[in-house]
Structure formats: structure tokens, C-alpha cells
């Protein structure tokens, strides 16, 4: 039992590390995008490798725990939640990298037209990731309602970004490269929100044993 508890303790600690790393990376990537900070964007893009490595370590750890100890009840739900949540965290890491790459691409473009709504989407998405990671680490479902509300808000913002950029694209097809990048970034942020909801759903399962849909 002691060995199992030590292994579970380490698993949760490493999950916490991955959660913090992903939170600060998406936060940095969004900040770099809004402030056109290409140095910060490069730093965030490079961080993805660490996220990916940590994800692989955690995946192996969860599978090892399942094989060695065949956990049940809350232990099983925790291990299963970690196994799913790390995939979502890794994806958020990947979207952070894509946003950082888009920032580097857009560095020559000084026009802010088409940006409207994206910084707000960024802060909502970052807030959602922080809530989801916090709930995962603390095993606390109190933030899940807010995640659900933010998800709807994020969708509304995304729709207006797409509408606005489609109009701009119609008026100025020459700016297609830039405008398409903005639309992509809004898509990445929307996916970051979706993955946060996925994490939240797993946390609800871990805590209550019931499957719920969040932000559907």
C-alpha cells in the first residue's frame, strides 16, 4: 500500500507540474500574441517540447500504476482522469505553440485590423485553463460552472472574430495571409477552451463518479 501511495503521490505531483507549465505557456503565448512580443513567442514555442516530454512521462507512469496495482474506486478514477487530462493538457500545449508561431509570422504586420476580440478570447481561454488545472490538482468541482459559462462566452467571441475577419477578407483579399492567421488563432483559442472543458468533465467524474457534459 505504501508503494502504491508513494507512486500515486508522485503521479499527482508531476501532473501538477505539467498543469502549471501548460498554464504559464498558454498565458505567455497569448500575451506574446497580443503584445506582438516575438521573443516571448519564441520562448513559448520552445516550451512545447518540455510539455510533450512531461506528457510522455505521465502516460507511462499511469499505465505502470494500472498494471502494477489495478486500482479501484477513487484511485481508479484518479488514474483514469490523469491519463485523459494529460492528453488535453498536451493539446493545449500544442495550441500554445501554434499561437506562438502565428505571432512570429505576424511580427511584420503592424496593422491591428482583424485583431478585435482575439485578446479577449485569449484571456477567457487562459482563465478556463487555469480553472480546469486548478480543479484537477485540488480535486475540486467548485470552478466547473464558471468553466461552462466561459465556454459559451468564448464561442460568442469566436463567432464575432470570424464574422469580422470574413468581412475584412471580402474587402481586402490581399490581406488574406494575415486575416487567415487571425482566424486560425481564434480557432486555437476555441480549442483551448474545449480542452479545458474536457479536463473539467474528467475532474467531475473523478470526484463524483458520474459523467457530465461541460460547455456542450
Amino acid at each position: 500500500m505504501k508503494r502504491f501511495e508513494d507512486d500515486m503521490g508522485r503521479l499527482l505531483e508531476t501532473t501538477r507540474d505539467l498543469g502549471s507549465l501548460v498554464c504559464s505557456t498558454i498565458d505567455g503565448a497569448v500575451r506574446a500574441f497580443c503584445e506582438r512580443d516575438t521573443d516571448l513567442a519564441r520562448e513559448m514555442a520552445e516550451r512545447y517540447q518540455r510539455i510533450s516530454d512531461l506528457h510522455s512521462v505521465l502516460e507511462e507512469d499511469t499505465l505502470r500504476i494500472l498494471t502494477l496495482y489495478q486500482p479501484t474506486a477513487v484511485d481508479m478514477r484518479t488514474v483514469a482522469t490523469v491519463l485523459k487530462a494529460i492528453t488535453y493538457l498536451e493539446r493545449i500545449g500544442k495550441y500554445s505553440k501554434k499561437i506562438a508561431k502565428a505571432t512570429i509570422f505576424l511580427s511584420d504586420d503592424i496593422s491591428a485590423e482583424g485583431m478585435e476580440g482575439i485578446p479577449e478570447m485569449g484571456s477567457v481561454a487562459v482563465r478556463m485553463v487555469k480553472l480546469a488545472v486548478g480543479s484537477l490538482i485540488d480535486g475540486d468541482t467548485s470552478g466547473l460552472d464558471e468553466i461552462s459559462q466561459q465556454e459559451h462566452f468564448l464561442d460568442t467571441l469566436r463567432n464575432s472574430v470570424i464574422r469580422r475577419n470574413t468581412e475584412l477578407l471580402r474587402d481586402c483579399p490581399a490581406a488574406a495571409d494575415v486575416l487567415m492567421r487571425y482566424m486560425s488563432v481564434s480557432r486555437y483559442l476555441e480549442r483551448v477552451g474545449d480542452n479545458s472543458c474536457d479536463i473539467a468533465e474528467k475532474v467531475a467524474y473523478m470526484v463524483t463518479g458520474r459523467h457530465v457534459e461541460i460547455g456542450a
Binding site: A73, V74, R77
Partner: protein
């Protein structure tokens, strides 16, 4: 004996049981669902074997054993003074922890029950022997040595022979008291597969210390503690999200 089409083949309600002055079961209630496997788990001395044995009145053989409450089998009170105990034990068979074949041939072990119940026709007996051994997944291994001693079989084969012997008298329920605790993993796996196969035609109640076994093969699980039914429910629920903290602690190994 009258049987109903109810989902519960056995209904246990508010059963208390004493061995002399010592109470072993406290107000135990649970259903045994028809054509399902029900597992009883719990720490040593929690009363799970006592409960199992009381289902076919095996405890009658223990001096000073007394039971109160109601235990219905197909609507009939198992403990009514008018109940035919042998009839109950024919319909509710039992498999013990250690295989206990009779010191006779494989064939005679299986045909023993039917012969006692008056089947004399050789062909009919042969048919029962074959059918029972096929059902207990032993036929392929022993069909060419039916007249050899049962004691020459391996532990796992002996246990399947005991199951064949129980099946030979066409029971409705098979009670298994830690049937694999003396067997190696291969033999255990065969008994588990067999229990799952038997579930189609019979009802199985199994006492086990092996929680993985309970979760692998049973549909319903009862967790007993200090003579009480601490929690009863679908196995999936018990092993995923038990309602009682005590059950959670037991199945996750954080007990005592």
C-alpha cells in the same frame, strides 16, 4: 417446490444468525438475482461464508446455530419446518474451498447424486455424466478415463469435477465458497470462465477474498463487515464509486 418468475431467486430479509451465544449475522438483507453472479466480499470473519452456507442450510450441521429472519428461495421459506432440506441442497448446490471429490471414479463422482435420487438407467446416467462434465468444461480432459480415480486429477480438475457433481442434480443455484483459493492462476482462470458460462443457466453466489476476481466475474457484489451487509449493489458501482466510505476503504486496500 413452487418457483416464481421473479428476478430474485433468493430473497434474504433481516437475517440474524447465532452460533450459540455469539451472533455472526446482523440484520442482513440482500437479493440473489436470477442468472447472475453475486460475489460476497469482506475481511475474514465478516460472516460472508456463514451467509453463503445459510442459503442451503449447511449451517444446520453446526451445533447451536440459530437463524432468525426470512430467507426465501423461489418464494418458499428455506427455514420453514416443512421445507425438505435435501430438496433445498439439491436445488442449491455448493462448491467448497478445497476440492473434495469422493474416493471413487470420475464417472461415479458425477453420477452419485442422480443415483441417490433414484436414476438407475445406465444410459441416462451416462448422459448426465457427459452433460455435466461438458458443462463444467472438464469433458475434453477426462472423457477417455472416466473410470479412473478422481483423486488422480489435478486440483483445478478436481474442482471442476466437484462443479460437475453439483450440476448433475440440476440445481438452480450454485454456491461457491472461495472455490479458487487453493488453485493456481491457470486453474483459477478456468473456474472463473466456467462461472461466467454457468451464469446463463444457473445462478451463482461466490465468496471470495480476491477482489479482482469479484470485479472480473460478478454482476452484483455484497461487502460484508462485522456480520453486517455494509453495502450491496452492482459490481461496477461498488468497484468504481461505492456509496459507503467503509467499502471504499476496503476495496482500495486502506483498511484497518
Amino acid at each position: 417446490m413452487v418457483t416464481t418468475e421473479s428476478d430474485n431467486v433468493i430473497e434474504i430479509s433481516n437475517v440474524n444468525l447465532w452460533y450459540g451465544d455469539k451472533q455472526a449475522l446482523f440484520d442482513v438483507s440482500m437479493p440473489v438475482r436470477r442468472n447472475r453472479i453475486t460475489a460476497l466480499i469482506g475481511p475474514s470473519g465478516c460472516g460472508k461464508s456463514t451467509l453463503l452456507r445459510s442459503m442451503n442450510r449447511m449451517n444446520d450441521l453446526v451445533d447451536g446455530c440459530r437463524l432468525e429472519g426470512r430467507m426465501l428461495f423461489g418464494g418458499t421459506d428455506i427455514y420453514s419446518p416443512n421445507t425438505d432440506v435435501n430438496g433445498i441442497r439439491t436445488r442449491i448446490g455448493m462448491i467448497f474451498q478445497k476440492p473434495n471429490p469422493f474416493p471413487m471414479s470420475i464417472r461415479d463422482n458425477v453420477s452419485y447424486g442422480p443415483r441417490i435420487h433414484g436414476v438407475e438407467d445406465r444410459e441416462e446416467l451416462d448422459e448426465i455424466v457427459e452433460r455435466s462434465l461438458v458443462r463444467s468444461a472438464l469433458w475434453d480432459e477426462v472423457h477417455d478415463r472416466l473410470d479412473k480415480s478422481a483423486l488422480a486429477l489435478s486440483g483445478g480438475q478436481q474442482q471442476r469435477l466437484c462443479i460437475a457433481r453439483a450440476l448433475a442434480v440440476s440445481p438452480q443455484v450454485i454456491l461457491m465458497d472461495e472455490p479458487t483459493s487453493a488453485l493456481d492462476p491457470m486453474a483459477t482462470s478456468k473456474i472463473e470462465d466456467l462461472a461466467c458460462e454457468l451464469e446463463k443457466d444457473y445462478t451463482v453466489v461466490i465468496v471470495t477474498h480476491n477482489m479482482q476476481q469479484a470485479s472480473r466475474i460478478s454482476d452484483y457484489t455484497g461487502f460484508m463487515y462485522l456480520g453486517k451487509m455494509a453495502e450491496f449493489g452492482r459490481t461496477e458501482g461498488i468497484f468504481n464509486k461505492p456509496k459507503e466510505e467503509l467499502t471504499e476503504r476496503y476495496i482500495t486496500g486502506r483498511f484497518g
